[in-house]
């Protein structure tokens, strides 16, 4: 992010953080803490198992699979196979919004679980799972049922995939399982991958209908928290872009089935969904662009990039028209807010893309991101996809299936010729590429992967930021220290923050957050200097 002033020197912060750790832990953590220098190629350790006893903010494989990727799709019955906790805790907690589809199916307000009991653990839970699927079918008649395995399922050897095949045959609807037991992988990231694989294998390509539309796109990795996707959908429509499928905010399983007919994939959250994009590219020949609709400037840039990709004059004109309609209100809001936010420091520790994207919003109101990091991302999200060949596959990643994809003999279709793509690349367009977060952060910023509660405290002590962005687990610890905190998973029950209107919401939200006067009341008047007491006595 460009800015005219420099960030404070990070002198000694790394040593300061590490000195409390046992030496082995300190050695391990030191590789995940980087003082950023965008001019050099720095390596950061990421996607590495959290040390036991270090309180992490990460979730599990099941959370990434059922909660994140499949959760926002309205017409799939997500059946958790396991004891009750996992289903309960992932029940409507992510604030994904949806519109009812034409058939009215919406199972998102439900939490379906086989609620395994001790006899299921001892004697196996397949019978109960089979009955539960039958029951779900009888009551709801869904077009698809997804089965999500929790920790004990893998251990007792329930074959959810066999049950799924059997019931699929019996009921004639799409049923398949996700082996997303919580102990797999190092974080929810493993669950994203498993979800991507299974959707690709069992859903994508089931419907070959080619829809009307000159410029057909998929939006990947947008989960419609707080209504973000609604705003983006509106922009697409006004620009003349036809959205085939979103993965997976405000989505239907029918959209996934048809998504291979699109001309272009757009990736919002690279971490959670790049697998689907890669597989679609290989099997169906759809290129992908990394775009970002968080931040008004970033939104405008992304829209222009899409228009440039298609290279259609009408589309380019229409995109400019839409940007022209939206920007005046954005600039007005910025002018109002910026005097009260300029120069203030922000920290963002969240997700697999938001820690990157939200830096754009902050820079638009003159705020500087002094420290950032992801909860569950990999090195390519920090350093760019160029490091992919260097990433060593460890035991935790090896267990996640890499789906072997080949060119579909009938349906593979080059969307652009090699020459056309080269011409675009020559003009500076990055196709099927992501540069990561670190190259765009300022010198002296601190980058920390999988930050712990303790490290958060150290950072806060040093920088006293104007706002700290993370999730609900960090929220109250940060606020206890008198630092305003904004949740960027659930948006603190606000939003939307995407696109132009979302940017305006965010400016106003930050103005409120960093300028609130409530912290000034922490000290009671009787805790003040003794002279004040004396004045009272004199009076």
């Amino acid at each position: 992010m460009k800015s005219d002033t420099k960030l404070p020197e990070p002198c000694g912060i790394q040593e300061d953080i590490l000195k409390k750790y046992p030496s082995k832990v300190a050695r391990k953590r030191s590789k995940s803490i980087v003082l950023n220098d965008p001019k050099t190629e720095q390596e950061i350790q990421a996607n590495i198992r959290t040390v036991p006893g270090i309180i992490t903010q990460r979730g599990c494989c099941y959370a990434g699979c059922k909660g994140v990727v499949l959760g926002p799709t309205r017409d799939i019955i997500n059946l958790t196979h396991g004891p009750i906790g996992c289903g309960f805790y992932s029940w409507a907690t992510r604030r994904n919004q949806t519109r009812p589809g034409p058939d009215g199916d919406n199972f998102m307000p439900y939490c379906f679980s086989t609620d395994m009991q001790d006899d299921n653990i001892v004697f196996g839970g397949e019978k109960k799972l089979r009955e539960a699927i039958q029951e779900a079918y009888d009551i709801f008649h869904p077009k698809m049922i997804g089965i999500f395995a929790t920790c004990p399922v893998g251990l007792i050897g329930d074959d959810i995939h066999a049950v799924a095949r059997e019931m699929k045959e019996k009921l004639g609807i799409n049923i398949f399982g996700f082996s997303c037991e919580g102990y797999k992988g190092v974080s929810q990231s493993a669950g994203h991958h498993i979800a991507n694989n299974q959707i690709f294998k069992h859903v994508v390509g089931l419907d070959d209908t080619v829809k009307e539309g000159k410029f057909k796109i998929n939006l990947l990795g947008e989960y419609n928290i707080g209504g973000d996707a609604f705003l983006i959908e509106d922009l697409f429509k006004r620009c003349g872009l036809t959205l085939i499928s979103t993965y997976s905010g405000n989505s239907s399983v029918d959209h996934f089935a048809n998504s291979h007919t699109a001309d272009l994939n757009l990736i919002m959250c690279h971490r959670s969904i790049n697998y689907v994009a890669k597989m679609m590219e290989k099997k169906f020949g759809i290129p992908w662009l990394k775009i970002n609709f968080i931040g008004a400037e970033a939104t405008a840039k992304s829209l222009r990039k899409i228009a440039q990709y298609f290279g259609d004059k009408e589309l380019i004109k229409q995109v400019e028209k839409v940007i022209g309609e939206e920007m005046p209100a954005v600039l007005e809001a910025r002018k109002d807010v910026e005097p009260r936010t300029r120069g203030k420091l922000a920290m963002i520790f969240v997700g697999g893309s938001r820690a990157h994207h939200y830096q754009y919003l902050f820079s638009e109101i003159g705020m500087k991101t002094v420290a950032a990091g992801y909860e569950f991302a990999h090195r390519d999200d920090y350093e760019g996809r160029k490091v992919l060949p260097q990433i060593k596959v460890d035991a935790d990643s090896r267990n996640i299936e890499e789906v072997v994809v080949e060119k579909d003999p009938k349906r593979y279709r080059l969307r652009k010729t090699e020459q056309e793509l080269d011409a675009l690349k020559k003009k500076g367009m990055e196709i099927s590429k992501y540069e990561g977060m670190m190259s765009e952060m300022e010198p002296n910023s601190v980058v920390i992967d999988d930050i712990s509660q303790y490290e958060t405290e150290k950072l806060i002590d040093k920088y006293k930021p104007a706002v700290f962005c993370a999730g609900i687990k960090e929220k109250y610890t940060v606020q206890k220290r008198g630092i305003p905190m904004k949740q960027l998973h659930s948006y603190d029950y606000g939003g939307p923050f995407a696109a132009f209107k979302g940017a305006i919401n965010f400016y106003r939200e930050m103005d409120r957050t960093v300028n609130t006067k409530v912290w000034r009341m922490i000290k009671a008047p009787w805790e003040n200097e003794p002279e004040i007491t004396a004045t009272f006595v004199v009076e």
Binding site: K20, P22, R49, T50, V51, P52, G53, I54, I55, T56, R58, G59, C60, C61, A63, P83, I84, G85, C86, F88, Y89, W91, T93, P109, Y110, C111, F112, S113, T114, D115, M116, Q117, D118, I121, E131, A132, E135, C151, P152, G154, L155, G182, Y183, K184, S187, A395, D396, N399, Q453, Y454, D461, I472, K473, Y476, T477, Q479, K480, R481, G482, I522
Partner: protein
Amino acid sequence: MKTAENLYTATRNSCKLCAPLGASLVLRGIEGAMPFLHGSQGCSTYIRRYLINHFKEPVDIASSNFSEKEAIFGGKQSLISGLENICKQYQPKLIGVATTCLTETIGDDVEMILREFFLKHKSERLPEIVHISTPSYIGTHMEGFHTAVLAVVSTIARKEKKLKQIGIFPGLVSSADIRYLKEIVSDFDLGPVILPDYSETLDGGPWEEYQKIQQGGTTVEQIASLGDSLGTIELGHSLETRKTASVFLEDNFSVPRFSLGLPIGIKLTDLFFNNLKKISGKEIPCKYQSARARLIDAYVDGHKYIFGKKVLVYGEEDLVIAVASFLFEIGAVPVFCATGEKTGTLKKVLPEIASAYGKEIIIREGYDFEQIGEESAKIGLDFMLGNSKGYYLARKMGIPLIRIGFPIHDRLGGQRILHLGYGGTQQLFDRILNAVIEKKQETSPVGYSYM
């Protein structure tokens, strides 16, 4: 045979949570304690976010962060290194190691691993470490809660000398409830040892400096001294037949046990105060007698609005029973009482209470919200009482939901709802009455502002 209660195989919108959550909550009510879940990190993350959402306070829970390797070969090393890292970073006074469905299924021998840990560090000052067995495929969050209280007490409690104190095991109540219980017991000139006591840890103010583990909670020393108490009071009808901390203290240290329902409503609160009187040998302080009198006065004032109203009560069985008993007192009828628990307590206790009022009511155990909804639709209810999870049913039926218990995540202040004693009943009564009156006023064809 399929009966109403086992009509369905799957659970749709569960009315219960899992055992490790209950255990974690108990540990947050012990001073300097760190809950430690032995299993996947997802359990600790999910439970943290759920507790935090209700209490709006930090909740740190450590984990042994299982990978596939540990799931296959056992989690001994992860548990030991996890405990070492927690000791070094947080210097806790107590660590509660609660198991999860993962470690229970693979059969990790936690007791043995802990012995090894102690042996390895025998020359060091170590915190108390308590093992709590909480497989989430047995019972509910309440099972985990009571198991944790018993595990902590049976590991730590001693008997040395008689102390003028009383042990209270309140069950899952709000932070405000715990504060109020402390005040009541202190007013009888008794030292209260409440386990758990998360009145400060889960409802506190800003910090001057970073607190690795939030201040507040019952101290390990206080828990150790429970064997010296004049008596213990445990709250909740379900505890009567359980092996509880109170039973343990009575069996091992001859501390008299008083097992009562949650003090909600006049009758159950009278019982609670009578027991305090018995244990302390002191008269009931004036301020509580006045509070009781005011409550009776309010019952009279409100009777015409509430009489005969049909109510759904759902949630933890102990809360449901106490609230139902209170509703009968004020002339409302808890026609439908449901819980996700399956201990048989509801069916044992409620019919007796109902028949004292000449009423028959529907009692359901092991129910989920969809079952509650289906059956409610047939009844014609006036309002309902329970946690936020039932809101969608209230919306569907167009009736008021008066929020009580846990979890409350669609209103602020769930941790400050007072349910217990004359004071708590008074607040509950006023909230219920006003919800009924508001509903009538809002749906009235004429606007009125005076009644």
